[in-house]
Symmetry: C2
Subunit: 168 residues, 2 copies
């Protein structure tokens, strides 16, 4: 059993949070949803998800994988210094980070994508390139510990690679 | 690779269709969404899913597993004679059938639950019992080829058992 950490906020893309959330639980893993405040966060399509820990309560050493769903949530998560610190800790220890859609925006703000092969949602491509990443248009791009995808339709490939990272 | 068949209609419970849909694709399987008409069906939370085949075009022999998501969709699917015929064919050949939430309503209409251990959404319990099923309150109930769950929060256990059926 591993612990998976999902960082998000209100207006997340519902399936990009819920599909990984249920997938890790199917595998018998524990899933922690962390956000700036406690309570619940609400997706663009109306799904509510309980926040298990506030960002301040998260010790990144406790988790085997970091998942960054998309939607409008990353626009607020990227403003949280603790969220960027968590992302940097995962990269420092070479632990898997899986970001989809707008999720890579958090990694851009953390300055973690320079020289990395990555993909993202259409509207994020420009800032991804400006951050020094090598953009690729594919359902999933894997570069070391980093797994990125473009959109909800890529979730099967995204989760396949995320689960593979955990078996390594 | 196997072929998975999802039977649904408008007003499906979005995650109960999309989580299995993406999960089978993650495993490399083909997923067919069938409904009374062609085009697209829309979930209660607004997700649209393309219909791959109309019910009339479905030959149940082509599929290894049948998935029946919940929401308000089963109320219309259960009125389709071809849908009931498809469900009966799966039971006849002892192939896995996974129904969640209101999904078991289709099996009730097909007369397939007599003497079977099963679960379902709270509001479906009475008619499930009246159909002769042995109701159990659990995140997942497995009886031979039949896998049933109560609600979206049960999806991890539901998919774990559905995937296990395919490995047998």
């Amino acid at each position: 059993m591993i612990n998976a950490l999902i960082l998000s906020a209100d207006n997340f893309e519902d399936t990009e949070l819920l599909v990984p959330y249920y997938r890790f639980k199917e595998a018998g893993d524990e899933v922690i949803v962390a956000s700036a405040g406690r309570g619940a966060i609400k997706g663009k399509h109306g799904y509510e998800v309980a926040v298990t820990k506030s960002l301040d309560e998260v010790n990144p050493d406790d988790y085997a994988i970091l998942v960054l769903p998309g939607g409008a949530a990353p626009a607020s998560v990227r403003k949280e210094p603790k969220a960027l610190e968590i992302a940097r800790s995962f990269f420092k220890h070479n632990k898997p980070v899986a970001a989809i859609c707008h999720g890579p925006q958090i990694l851009i703000s953390a300055g973690l994508l320079k020289g990395k092969h990555a993909t993202c949602y259409l509207s994020v491509i420009d800032e991804l390139k400006e951050s020094g990443a090598i953009y690729e248009d594919g359902e999933v791009v894997v570069d070391g510990n980093l797994v990125t995808s473009r959109q909800p339709a890529d979730l099967p490939a995204f989760m396949r690679e995320a689960m593979k990272q955990l078996k390594q």
